[in-house]
């Protein structure tokens, strides 16, 4: 197996599903050719397996459909909410008006290739990327098991990320050369942005499964959806809770100095300011720093009643502990990364009462989720996390689109990008005018070392008897 950057074509056919549970990472999947007889050409628009047997979990948009502005957040959180702007974007979803839908299918296909851009090996997102890949592999294996005689198998064409600015652009261009019909990834916001730009030029649809950067889908490029709720959803919910329900007025921000936290924390601070509570401090730290006495001293001097922490879980867990040791009693808040064990481990008792947002309760008893957990555990030998769940869901959307559209990138795009709702193992998704999932997020609190989810009804779209209410 080559080291970074590695290149792997893995064909996940029926036989591979019988493989023993594995704990390997993105680089360890066996390469090989398809194990099935090939057909001369893929048949476009073949009906997905099981499509007629159950109500569709895919609800598509109608042309010209109008969407609520600004991620469906309360108007108080909108920018310049007291005036009507000259022009409002994303009220409708940007159509793709170019040609391609009637281009003939390739006649030499031996499989239906799907691309994946992993995180760089050894980087902060590597372990999340491993779980992402596992969810995608499981979805592809299942789809290949269910395919009918004559159907082409799905292939995963996978590239390990390159830890430098612009590296994902090279990989996205390479995936185009490898003639993928669509691709999945990435976790890193910078990588996802860079790959998206290539996506527009190459006209290959991208399903992002795990980048919460809210700006990713705000570019008007109609070749991308994101299945994971973004930081706008999380931070909007969090700020409302902090200011409106808990009465916090003096909010300090402690974050890493990278792009991820800059984009996320500034959105959070904008929301807090719009609710009348501009941040009293914004302090930065270097990822991996062990002690930050200057920052802690400055925060203490500002006498906050709430501290918003953003960074890798191990870092912010360590600093939560140091903040408590410095005598700071302000309550801690954060977003999804606080869910990870590294935060709890490093924060110790300082985690008590910490409140954060997360996408869904992993203990939910919805049969789609519990069934996925069981199959995932059987395949990989350990529990899935949210990254695995969203990756599985993102892959399902891509696979479904490819089954419906056939090997035509433009028609696959239509099936992916025109989704309004999708019910995945992580719950119902609701896509806005930017193509981002705006399903309500959950509020979680650490109590006695346990993660306690605030009660909240599951979101269900109107067509399935639910309401469109944003939050309880």
């Amino acid at each position: 197996m080559n080291a970074s950057p590695f290149y792997l074509i893995a064909v996940f056919a029926a036989a591979s599903a019988a493989a023993a549970p594995a704990t390997d990472g993105p680089g360890a999947c066996a390469a090989g050719g398809s194990d099935s007889p090939m057909v001369a050409a893929a048949q476009p628009a073949q009906a997905p397996v099981g499509a007629a047997s159950a109500p569709s979990r895919f609800i598509h948009s109608t042309p010209g459909e109008e969407y609520p502005p600004y991620g469906e957040l309360p108007k108080e959180l909108w920018p310049f909410s007291n005036v009507e702007p000259y022009f409002r974007y994303f009220v409708t979803r940007m159509p793709f008006r170019g040609p391609g839908r009637d281009y003939p299918a390739p006649t030499d296909l031996k499989s239906l290739p799907i691309g994946l851009v992993d995180a760089p090996r050894g980087g902060a997102n590597w372990e999340r990327s491993v779980r992402t890949r596992e969810g995608i592999v499981l979805a592809i294996e299942e789809a290949n098991r269910e395919r009918r005689p004559g159907d082409l198998p799905f292939d995963l064409i996978e590239h390990e990320g390159i830890a430098q600015w612009g590296g994902a652009a090279n990989l996205a261009a390479q995936l185009a050369d490898e003639k993928v019909l669509g691709y999945l990834g990435t976790i890193d916001g910078t990588d996802a942005h860079v790959a998206l730009r290539v996506t527009l030029k190459t006209e290959i649809v991208m399903v992002n499964t795990s980048d919460p950067d809210q700006t990713l889908t705000e570019t008007q490029i109609p070749w991308l959806i994101r299945v994971m709720p973004d930081h706008r959803q999380e931070e909007g919910r969090l700020v409302e809770l902090m200011v409106r329900k808990l009465g916090c007025t003096r909010i300090a921000v402690l974050r890493t100095g990278d792009r991820f936290a800059r984009v996320g924390a500034h959105q959070f601070m904008d929301f807090a300011r719009r609710l009348g509570c501009p941040a009293v401090q914004e302090l930065l730290f270097t990822p991996g720093a062990t002690n930050i006495p200057y920052q802690i001293g400055a925060i203490k001097e500002s006498q906050p009643d709430a501290i918003f922490l953003m960074g890798e879980p191990a870092d912010i867990g360590r600093f939560a502990k140091q903040l408590r040791q410095a005598g700071i009693t302000a309550r801690f808040f954060g977003t999804d990364l606080m869910m990870e064990d590294a935060f709890l481990k490093n924060a110790g008792d300082a985690a008590e009462g910490t409140t954060f947002t997360f996408y869904f309760d992993p203990a939910r008893q919805d049969p789609l989720w519990t069934g996925f957990v069981a199959r995932y555990e059987q395949r990989w030998g350990h529990e899935p996390d949210a990254y695995a769940g969203f990756a599985y869901d993102g892959a399902q959307i891509m696979l479904h689109a490819m089954q419906l559209a056939g090997p035509n990138r433009w028609r696959i795009r239509d099936e992916v990008y025109d989704l309004d709702y999708y019910q995945g193992v992580t719950g119902w998704m609701r896509f806005d005018g930017t193509g981002s999932n705006t399903a309500p997020v959950r509020v979680v609190r650490y109590e006695h070392g346990q993660r306690v989810f605030e009660p909240q009804a599951e979101f269900v779209p109107p067509a399935f008897g639910g309401t469109v209410a944003h939050a309880p």
Binding site: N170, V198, R259
Partner: protein
Amino acid sequence: MKTQPSSPFAALFGLVFVLSHAPGMNASAALPETAPLPIPVVARFENFTEKDGLPAHKIHCVLKAGDGRLWLGTTNGLCVRQDNGTFRRFGIEDGLSHLTVLGIAEDPATGDLWIATMQGLSRLSGGKFTAFTQTNSGLPNNVVYGVAVAEGTVWAATAAGTGAYDIKTKAWKPYDQTNTVMNEPWCYGIAPGRGVIYLGIWAGGIVEHDPRLGTFKAYRDPDGEFHIALTADSGPIVDVTSGVAYDAGVLWQASYFGLARYDTQEATWRTWVQDKTPLVSNFINSVFAHGRIAWASTDQGVSVTNGDTWVNYQVGKDGKGVVHICRPGQPPETRTMATALSDGFVMAVWADDHEAWFATSNGLSHGLFSSPADQAALTSNP
């Protein structure tokens, strides 16, 4: 969720269109008498597709070189239109660094071509290609979105910053978020200005760089929000720049959110968005400037404007050309043409005072201009 209502501007266009196409009424009868337009008008399109020898459906860029030869950047290599009208393709086997060509620039001093591709920058000099990549040169990234040559320097806009190559010294200098005012290094376009270089930055607006002084100045969206344009005419339409162009003291910004113009002499901005202005679509793939006139290539045709008068070229449902003309203070006019753009999804334009070439997602179009005296003839439906 409900259906989007049509805009008043679109409705006005529609009304004029219906009137001009009503039975027994030709377009000229429904349109007011007008003076010649201050911008060129295409009288007829000639189209070229794969059937005519083009190597691909999609043409990303087009350039007419100083020697009169027409060069095309396609998804299947570089292409030149030869004297006999046929097309000759150059691919990787010829030394081109990648098949997907996103931009072409000519060195006015030597006639060399610099070619932006998805895997490096290529130079075509004396019939030979030389490839510059991030591993064999100082090119910041292999995905090169745009290229320009100015005063002995080649400027390459890449996915990880702009690279400046001094042709004489062969030295590279990178420009990114570490040594300029750009907050992101993702560069999408390059336009030489008067003594300065304009860099179109994705999520960073436009950066103006004076190479002699080593200074940088950023032009950013005043509201800083992607979801809205708070006010008109206040600055770049958005920070997500898809292309820039400069000529005759006017800087143009293309974006997927509309069009913006900066008059460098008056230091004033103007902006245009679809439905509220004559701009045919917010989704602008690129913009080309000739004199004080801009050619905006959009997903719904081309908008040509000097900022006041507009001529839009679209493809009708029947495949015929549809021309919208907007003069200041007058209702828009809609005319039909017997010929149309090869495809409405236009990637790029090259134009001078005599002709225009259109790179589209499905072929190449040649626009032959009418003389001012001929413009009235366009009002008759052929």
